[in-house]
């Protein structure tokens, strides 16, 4: 990533966005004093262009675009190591959740599409079936991501072991599920929820 100079002013620091992150994650970004313990223990830090501490740092400066342009937030494994060990009770895993959500809302320009696609399909599955069906999820993911042969060798083995069920029954409470999804959409439209 090219390292653009940061011009800092009240205009370039998007503090409103930071406030949204803080509300969603129920944690304070300002509490972080950049000790780096989150990045030290993060199993995914080596895959990120902005390690976790830098994500918080950029947020402190209101520079969220720099974060969501990259892949870092999508490479968070939600393992909660950072939140557990933070000396300042900064709930970084929740901040990551909030950032992903806001990035999605903003139709974030991140290059990381596979993780986003997997997430999308997962949620679609819930909306449609109420439960997760791994076989279907995997198949659709491979088709949509254009990796038709991915994990091809695992499939037959798993079917033989009874691990991938070819058929599934629909949940009887499906209408309830759909209602939850649509009520949330409605609330957001009305601005009652972020």
């Amino acid at each position: 990533m090219k390292k653009k100079k940061m011009i800092i002013s009240q205009e370039t620091m998007d503090i409103d966005f930071v406030r949204k992150v803080e509300a969603l994650s129920d944690t304070s970004v300002r509490r972080c004093f950049q000790c780096g313990k989150c990045s030290a223990g993060c199993p995914m830090a080596t895959f990120m262009e902005h390690p976790p501490n830098r994500v918080v740092r950029l947020l402190q400066l209101g520079q969220w675009r720099r974060i969501i342009e990259g892949r870092s937030i999508w490479y968070c494994a939600s393992c909660e190591t950072c939140s557990t060990r933070c000396p300042n009770k900064v709930h970084l895993a929740s901040i990551m959740d909030a950032l992903r959500k806001l990035s999605w809302d903003a139709d974030g320009p991140s290059k990381e599409s596979y993780v986003q696609l997997a997430n999308k399909l997962f949620l679609q599955n819930i909306r449609t079936y109420g439960r997760q069906y791994e076989m279907r999820l995997a198949a659709v993911f491979n088709v949509k991501s254009g990796q038709f042969l991915k994990d091809l060798m695992l499939g037959p083995k798993l079917i033989a072991k009874g691990k991938l069920k070819m058929f599934h029954s629909k949940n009887k409470n499906m209408t309830e599920i759909e209602k939850i999804f649509s009520r949330i959409e409605e609330m957001r439209k009305k601005g009652e929820a972020l």
Binding site: S78, T84, A98, L123, R131, Q132, Y133, N173, I184
Partner: protein, 295 residues
Amino acid sequence: MSSDNIMEYSYYPGCSLHASAGEYDLSTRELFKILKIGLTEIPDWFCCGATPAHNVDELLSLSLCAKNLELADEIEGDVAVACAACFSRLKTTQHVLTENETKRKQVEKAIDAPVKLNSNVKHLLEILAADLGLERLAAAVHKPLTGLKVACYYGCLLTRPTDVPNLDCVEAPTIMERVIEAVGAETVPWTHRLECCGANFTLSRPGVVIQLTNAILDSAKAAGADCIMVGCPLCHGNLDIRQKEIEGVYKTDYNLPVFYLTQLVGLAAGLGADKLGLDAMIVNPMPLLREKNLI
């Protein structure tokens, strides 16, 4: 439901136990039957949303879990959860909705019902270690797992974060060790008990998973373990299903069977291979179990 049960629970198996982790579901039901613990599956439960839901839509995640808690509330007893991810989501939901009033109100609107936070969500480990108790568990042993060296793998979601699941100490838990030692097995101290296996990326970025999981397998092997014990179907998926693939990538040979905790405890309690779903395991446990005279 037989009347001579000593305890009753509602049961939330989660999606995986109805699919790739069928053996976890099977061994859980069979084990609890002989321990005289009643499990009533919550009718028409939903997916908890797992990691993908809270990853991009916390409100949805909270609402799905709240709905499941509402369903569970209709059945007597605490909620027994087998999957570490479901356990984590349900516990987190209870924690967040207790602490944050704004979010609670939003969730109540989304599920169109008051949030029910009364039921106690418990992982199977807690039921075995605390509710049943290690003494009663030991008393149920028919065939102690003597000589079996087990690496207990917690992964990330069973204990973290601080103050949420409250299953055990976040950084130095012993609950798995206590349970499996109660049935006669030996446990090994090892370094990667709490490291993440990267389950979130199983589908999207398997390369990441292979790297992280390899480190875990390597640590367990180095510690001299015969096998690994898990309490999470997602961890199991990576450690067991991908083990051969990892061995290929890293040109190594682990051959570490990965058991669910209920499989090993069930084995000690005298359940047969068919009732433990041992044939569903990708890394064949039979040679090891034979070598240790456990089957």
